[in-house]
């Protein structure tokens, strides 16, 4: 058996174990762990998966995914909450049918994603990153200043109006966990499927050689726009789940901190493989939970500051040591094992440089 087959086998085995653990999680973990750590990790993992999908297969590092998640959540919140005495006060309070609202919220987000994608479709690399960052900040300022859809105070009560097939997730958190798990599985399979379709293959061609693909007759801008639309769809699923999980939406949901957080999750997991999204989310939220509980209320000892200072240093260290994250560490471990059997090769570039060059 070759080493590659062993690696695939090992990954499959780990995947099966992870899936079994995930399905049995409500029996194995406390309610707090299930709801605050695992469910949140699944949801943010979906958001990070949309980011990694665009970066790994489209060569587009998009910081708009947080904004798109927020847009989906805000759209849903404004459409479902009802104007009842003693009820919610913020937002449009349209009180529409939750099923209709769910579909419309996702469609709206995909539509906005397509417009965003079309504007950015001719920008590459670091320009793309900057442009998509402005999208999220603009969305943040928009929901913060337009009082009609909520303004700066939160739009609450989203989790009380869910479609029938979702059920009462405000109280039954195990149900919400399984819904998040199924959605995450669906997103994973969808992306795995998409990258094997002709569209997915040409998307990867455009990632590597945009000029050559254009001269072969592919519409590069259109492909990138559509890919961005798919990314927006995945982000919308994450945004809707986040709205149900958190129950309320405020502009900080898509603020700069949240944007950087999602990027950190994606980078910690590894920008080159979809699996990294959930790995990164779990690691990030677990560290966040462990560390935040231990920080005194007046800030960190000696230097002061909050969790952000710690995660900033962790992120800095990770980017310096292993810029392709935990999945990259895993891949490099196998590369090292492979090299042991052969005479050492002379690499012109270090692995990091190759990784960064291909993903930028």
């Amino acid at each position: 058996m070759t080493l590659d087959a062993t690696k695939t086998g090992a990954e499959r085995a780990i995947g099966v174990v992870a899936l079994v653990l995930a399905v049995l999680a409500p029996l194995l973990f406390s309610d707090f762990w299930l709801n605050s750590i695992l469910t949140q990790a699944l949801i943010l993992g979906i958001g990070a998966a949309s980011l990694i999908f665009l970066s790994a297969y489209g060569g587009m590092i998009s910081l708009a995914q947080t904004g798109l998640m927020g847009i989906a959540g805000y759209a849903l919140a404004n459409m479902v909450t009802q104007r009842v005495p003693g009820g919610e006060t913020k937002g449009l309070l349209l009180g529409w049918d939750p099923m209709l609202a769910l579909v419309l919220a996702i469609l709206l987000t995909v539509g906005i994603g397509l417009v965003f994608g079309a504007v950015a479709s001719r920008s590459f690399g670091i320009y793309f990153l900057m442009l998509t960052l402005t999208y999220t900040v603009i969305a943040f300022l928009f929901v913060g200043s337009v009082t009609l859809i909520g303004g700066f105070s939160p739009v609450a009560g989203v989790d009380r109006y869910t479609p029938g097939f979702i059920g009462d997730i405000a109280n039954d958190r195990t149900r919400l966990y399984y819904i998040a798990l199924i959605t995450a599985g669906f997103v994973y399979l969808l992306i795995r499927y998409l990258i094997r379709t002709p569209f997915g293959i040409s998307m990867q061609g455009i990632r590597d050689e945009p000029v050559r693909m254009a001269s072969l007759g592919y519409n590069v801008a259109l492909h990138r726009t559509l890919a961005f639309g798919i990314g927006a769809f995945v982000a919308a699923l994450g945004g809707v789940l986040y709205a149900w999980w958190f129950g309320q939406l405020s502009p900080t949901t898509m603020g700069l901190d949240a944007t950087i957080q999602l990027l950190i999750i994606a980078v910690v997991g590894g920008l080159r493989r979809i699996e990294g999204a959930w790995l990164g989310a779990l690691a990030f939220i677990w560290i966040n939970n462990e560390v935040t509980n231990r920080i005194p209320s007046d800030g960190l000892p000696v230097i002061g500051g909050t969790f952000n200072t710690i995660i900033g240093f962790v992120f800095l260290a990770l980017v310096i040591v292993s810029p392709d994250g935990l999945m990259g560490l895993w891949d490099r471990m196998w590369d090292a094992a492979r090299r042991r059997g052969r005479p050492p090769q002379v690499d012109m570039e270090t692995p990091e440089e190759t990784a960064m060059a291909s993903s930028s």
Partner: protein, 363 residues
């Protein structure tokens, strides 16, 4: 087709401001034509004031964004910590000014003399310049050319710096105001700027401090232009922008040039923060705001171009000012709240014609 639509949109916006807009009626309410002041023909002095608002804001935008653009143009580093540098620089200047004037009372604008503004300004610029240089030497020197990795590193720096600034500033505050936590504080302009200038046009008087802001922006532009185009260092920097490898192959120490550029670029963030903090305030959240402003200006104008930063600043400043003043006022909540959408429209319009920005060269 999209270009025709874009052109039509621009023409409509200009016509709207110039003739279509109506002043508000006596009994409130309004249509899509109703604005606060009416069109430029109805109320020329408000129009002039709005133009001045836009241009003076552009002066401040240019100071901050030119530093961001300089660093990118030469080194291909997107300094995501530019906003955090702005925040830190603003607070440093505030603390120095408080120490100089004797803290503990709320500063009135007239109580500050020129020296008490210039010294904090200089100290903040030096501090942030040196800090930026340290970040560059320590974190960005050994990984040149890996633009994504460098962007991620500066993001990490911005997270740490912003969090630390919020934890430790403002330190000296007037009685009754909470110290620390990134609360809003203002730097004071020198007393002589605290008056209105009569322009003798349409009866408009305009704030001298805002004119100062524009003047400083123009001075920064001229000095940067002279530096880049009339000195040896500038010559090397421009050569480095065009072809880094060839420049260093000619025996020029490009590393020194990079260091100088990063020093100056970071110091400009602090320069902008002192001006911006004097005109408005320094507070938590300003870092993200000014990172956004810098990004928008250079996306519109084109990365790494001085002229691009200037044109981008003027365009964005004008759109910003006109969006607030000239969006219709139909109903309770419409429409100046929606002004941020025009920021996106402006970027979309520019990128539809020139993906690399107005003065940017194709990558």
């Amino acid at each position: 087709m999209p270009r025709v639509a874009a052109a039509a949109l621009v023409v409509f916006a200009v016509l709207y401001v110039l003739v279509i807009a109506d002043p508000p009626g006596e009994f409130g309410g309004g249509t899509w034509r109703t604005t606060n002041t009416g069109s430029a023909l109805d109320d020329p002095s408000s129009f002039l004031t709005t133009v001045l608002d836009g241009l003076t804001f552009a002066g401040l935008l240019f100071i901050v964004a030119s530093g961001f653009s300089l660093i990118f143009g030469l080194m291909r580093v997107v300094n995501m910590a530019h906003g955090a540098f702005y925040l830190l620089g603003g607070y440093i200047a505030y603390e120095v000014q408080q120490r100089m004037t004797g803290s503990g009372f709320g500063l009135q604008p007239g109580e500050v003399n020129t020296l008490e503004w210039v010294v904090p300004w200089l100290i903040a610029m030096v501090c942030i310049g040196v800090f930026g240089l340290g970040v560059q030497q320590l974190l960005l020197r050994w990984n040149q050319g890996q633009d994504l990795r460098q962007a991620l590193i500066t993001i990490a720096v911005s997270v740490i710096v912003a969090d630390q600034v919020i934890a430790h500033f403002p330190r000296t505050v007037p009685a009754g105001i909470q110290p620390y936590g990134g609360n809003a504080v203002s730097i004071s302009w020198p007393g002589w700027t605290n008056r209105l200038v009569d322009l003798h046009v349409g009866g408009v008087s305009y704030s001298l401090s805002r004119f100062t802001m524009l003047g400083l922006g123009i001075v920064v532009g001229i000095v940067l232009w002279l530096w880049l185009h009339q000195t040896k260092t500038g010559l090397v920097i421009r050569a480095g922008v065009d072809d880094r490898q060839m420049t260093s192959a000619l025996g020029i120490n490009i590393q020194t040039t990079f260091a100088i550029a990063f020093l100056v670029g970071s110091a400009l963030a602090a320069f902008g923060a002192v001006v911006g903090g004097s005109q408005a305030s320094i507070a938590q959240g300003r870092d993200g705001e000014w990172l956004l402003f810098s990004l928008i200006v250079v996306i519109i104008g084109g990365m790494g171009s001085l002229a691009g930063a200037a044109v981008g600043s003027v365009l964005y400043g004008l759109v910003f000012a006109f969006a607030v003043a000239y969006l219709p006022i139909t109903g309770d909540n419409c429409c100046s709240q929606y002004s941020v959408v025009l920021t996106f429209v402006l970027m979309a319009l520019v990128l539809a014609f020139r993906p690399q920005g107005l003065f940017g060269r194709a990558a």
